[in-house]
Symmetry: C2
DNA sequence: TGTATTTAATGACATAAGTCAAGACGCAGT
DNA sequence: ACTGCGTCTTGACTTATGTCATTAAATACA
């Protein structure tokens, strides 16, 4: 098995502020399954239950919905050292309203809800990490909602430039537009104007 | 002290699925301080640190920001059996970007971060409740962000009518408009049209 | 290397929403 | 009952953003 668990261990230790013992690392290795996804492949499709949560070792993905007019709306863009799942569906075992799709070839480490509860959550570093993530996510969701409600497209784009400049390198502009809640044409024009 | 702790006990027990012992109830009574706020009074002002979190026994409040043009944007509307705080500021002890203001006369039960950590969090029902709240909040924040990004003003209003019809009775229309990210004039016109 | 596919830019036009100003209405306080 | 303030509605106009169509450029891939 060539997949890189080191990234996962580093991540858990960094966020939790706790060290993982060799035994604990073995528990991770025993229950997380390495998997590859090719570009455009789906990790989750609308209507399905999100059976797995996965740690991203390599690559990127998007979480999106499709509205009645057939337009896609990206809610999250995820890269290395991030978790891939639909939180709501994963914990409540309800059908998901979202699609999760690889934007580049990916290497992930995935695990079911049942195995997390039984083997992984009892590891103190892991549950400490979960609390930190939950707190960060809540704060981030609130910020993003604030800017969606109170800022113009141009202002939201400038925020993205400041906070996640690497996203602009990494993702095509139409994905960024969808993430910002704009049409690709509008984002193209915003960029043109902001070069003034 | 006439303030009604029963609402708080019921709430904690309901969300956690655990019963509070008489001793545990005494811990709540010893550390939560009853307080009254008059309509328009501030619970938190932008730039201050959110020292308290408070349980709402009676009344309502709004959390809002003021942008460069002096426009207010409401991020949350809170009523009975809800918590009043700026999550980010309260836990990280950083200056808040938000204002929290009573919309009606209020009765609340407030407590500092330090006292929560020392006395309240050790109560199992309380920390179980916190996990449930954090999960619900995360899911709700994601839903609201989704609709802010992908739906029109009219669609967002219809969602509110379906999900929180009592808000329409209780809050003035200009507050609802701000909560939806619309100008009061636009909401007035949306309502007129939707009576068709 | 050539061809197909995806992505980005642009113009012309349509639609949604904001802005400003005026007036009507209702309610609180005296 | 009067007054004043806050709230809601409406009209006229402006601005932001979406839509559709076309072309150009970049990229994938065979």
């Amino acid at each position: 098995m060539t997949s890189n668990f080191e990234a996962l261990f580093d991540y858990v230790q960094k966020l939790s502020g706790k060290i993982l013992s060799a035994d604990e690392k073995q528990v991770f290795i025993a229950h997380f399954k390495p998997k590859k996804l090719r570009k455009r492949q789906y990790f989750l499709q609308e209507g399905d239950i999100c059976k797995y949560t996965a740690f991203i070792v390599k690559g990127s993905a998007r979480t999106f919905t499709v509205d009645e007019k057939g337009h896609e709306h990206i809610l999250k863009l995820c890269i290395e050292n991030w978790w891939l799942n639909d939180f709501e569906s994963f914990y409540q075992l309800t059908p998901s309203r979202f699609n999760i799709q690889a934007l580049e070839d990916m290497e992930i480490l995935q695990i079911t809800n049942a195995l997390v509860e039984e083997f992984i959550k009892p590891i103190p570093a892991f549950s400490a990490m979960q609390n930190v993530i939950s707190q960060n996510f809540t704060i981030a969701a609130q910020k993003r909602m604030e800017s969606a409600i109170s800022r113009s497209g141009e202002e939201r784009f400038q925020e993205l430039v400041n906070e996640y400049p690497h996203f602009l390198q990494r993702f095509p502009q139409n994905m960024i537009a969808s993430y910002l809640g704009l049409s690709p044409e509008t984002l193209s024009r915003i960029r043109k104007n902001s070069l003034k």
